[in-house]
Amino acid sequence: MTTVAARPTGSASGQPAHGRRKQRRWTRAILPTYSWLVIAYLVFPIAIMIVYSFNQVTTGLPQVSFAWNGFTTRWYQQWNGIPQLTSSFWLSIQLALATTVLAGVVGTLLALALVRYRPPRFRGKAAFEQTLFLNIAAPEIVLGASLLGLFVTLNVARGFLTLLISHVAFSIAYVAVTVRARMAGFDRSLEEAAQDLGANAWTTFRKITFPIILPGIMAGGLMAFAISIDDFVTSNFVSGPQVPFPVWVYGATRIGIPPQVFVFGTAIFTVGILCALASVIMSRRHRPA
């Protein structure tokens, strides 16, 4: 690999004790074998989910049974056989998209403020950082319960709007932190060059700053989407009669999971993993040789 050739010291130090001592073969295999076992452990339940989405149901009830009853693609053909499940899924998608846009904008603006300004010009920066830290580290059940307490105290009817503002509230910190981390190596002199060439603030932002920080914003937005679509705890507290996908599935665990849940799970997994693999491959191809 050319990257290795470019850093002769890096490759040798990447593998400690390599060449220094001859190791016995089998000890070298321990760590890789172990790591692949952990990966297998992480993938195992997902494989089970996919397998059970093809499981036949023998009883009259629309529930996945623990026992294997034979292969069927019936649940894929009847994927929207449970109207409430399908509508809760679409609600989750809408919610996640709206959260991505709102938290993406608000969180990015905050990240810009945090990256560029320090206390003499930006008083209260430390307070912001403490708040973000607290928001990320506090147990989610406390945040969800306190939001419910607020809505009950103010007599706000629970519905899509309460879900949305709550999801944005817990996504802002993640977006801000992600975007800020991606902006750490931002070269301010590029903006200064633009301004020296006569660009005004807006043009500088549109033509220089925004394209450079766009990957960071996308990463932050993806984070918000992922957190929002999978959120159960807060959603369970603040949703009204129409519940998002995770809350519906949780409710269904009491009476038995319909096979369509696993169909949706498999579909979300497939789409997500394909996107992620594509981005891994792209990033490898675009890496400078």
């Binding site: 990447g14 952990v38 992480l42 059970y52 406390v142 307490g149 599935v249 999971i257």
Partner: protein, 304 residues
């Protein structure tokens, strides 16, 4: 600083209109205003409301609450539910230790031997997140069920007695917690190990350190911040988790999250639920505070 700060363009300051300069002074505040308001109204104020709710006395019939400064609510709730708090500590503690033990070797392996496949392996660590949290937990219910693929098979082979079960025990809860939160432990550890300057290791080997010395005296001490971050990011969410307990556990191993959820959504006991949430938050705050005292509040963000 050897040269004047470039950003201020000393040559152009005089020609700038005062309004623009005023706008520049306001810029950090304008940029942070939307997030600030959002977090104030929907994060900080709710916490204050929660504290005040816990001190109010509510009429169970009408649901109307009056502020009575009823500090006794905290002791009352603690004496009622200290068992559930202890359960949460045991299960979250056990699951966090298991997660740390499982993820340290794989994080080390990816950081040192991942080569150009690092991104692929990190994706594999994150793979559980591509399936909804609730579905993952439900699948574990399937796997651990009495007649499921593991126990059912072992029972049919007469390796386990028919009465053996895992579901509805604390073990199932710990297993679910450990699986669901493993990425939260593995990623901070990976970041910490990845960040170790390899030249320090080279120097150690040049000074005839053994692999064992290098590990104990360089790698381990340098990953301490990552270990702390991993502990915090795993333990605190697990402490408040109730999904694993509800799906995989039974009635004898209730965690505090279940009690809080029931207080708010089933019994409509807002005062009691708020008091318990406040106690849980206080416990989490002790950990968060200790962390930011020792390592700074920005340090944890490096591991996200």
């Amino acid at each position: 600083m050897e040269q004047p700060v470039l950003a201020d363009h000393p040559g152009r300051v005089g020609s700038r209109r005062p309004r623009a300069r005023f706008g520049k002074a306001l810029a950090p505040y304008l940029l942070s205003l939307p997030a600030g308001l959002w977090l104030l109204i929907l994060f900080l104020i709710p916490l204050v409301v929660m504290l005040s709710l816990s001190l109010q006395t509510c009429n169970n019939a009408t649901g109307a609450c009056v502020m009575t400064w009823h500090w006794g609510e905290f002791w009352q709730q603690l004496s009622l539910y200290h068992g559930q708090f202890l359960n949460s500590f045991y299960y979250a503690g056990a699951a966090t230790i298991i997660d740390l033990l499982i993820s340290f070797p794989i994080a080390y392996w990816i950081a040192f031997y991942g080569g150009n496949k690092k991104n692929f392996f990190l994706l594999m660590l994150l793979v559980p997140f591509f399936v909804s949290f609730i579905i993952r937990t439900v699948v574990w219910q399937f796997i651990l069920s009495d007649q499921g693929i593991i126990l059912g098979g072992l029972k049919n082979a007469h390796l386990l007695p028919q009465s053996f079960h895992v579901l509805a025990t604390g073990y199932a809860v710990v297993a679910g917690l450990a699986y669901n939160y493993l990425p939260f432990t593995a990623l901070p550890l990976y970041v910490a190990i990845e960040r170790i300057d390899r030249r320090i290791l080279d120097a150690a080997y040049d000074l005839y350190a053994t692999k064992r010395d290098a590990f104990l005296r360089i790698i381990l001490p340098l990953t301490v911040p990552g270990l702390f971050a991993a502990f915090l990011l795993t333990f605190i969410p697990q402490l408040g988790d109730y999904v694993n307990q509800q799906v995989l556990g039974g009635t004898s191993n209730t965690m505090i999250g279940t009690v809080i959820q029931n207080a708010f959504l089933v019994n409509l006991d807002y005062a009691g639920g708020s008091a318990l949430s406040a106690i849980l938050l206080a416990i989490a705050l002790i950990g968060i505070f200790a962390y930011s005292r020792l390592l700074g509040s920005r340090a944890i963000e490096d591991f996200l």
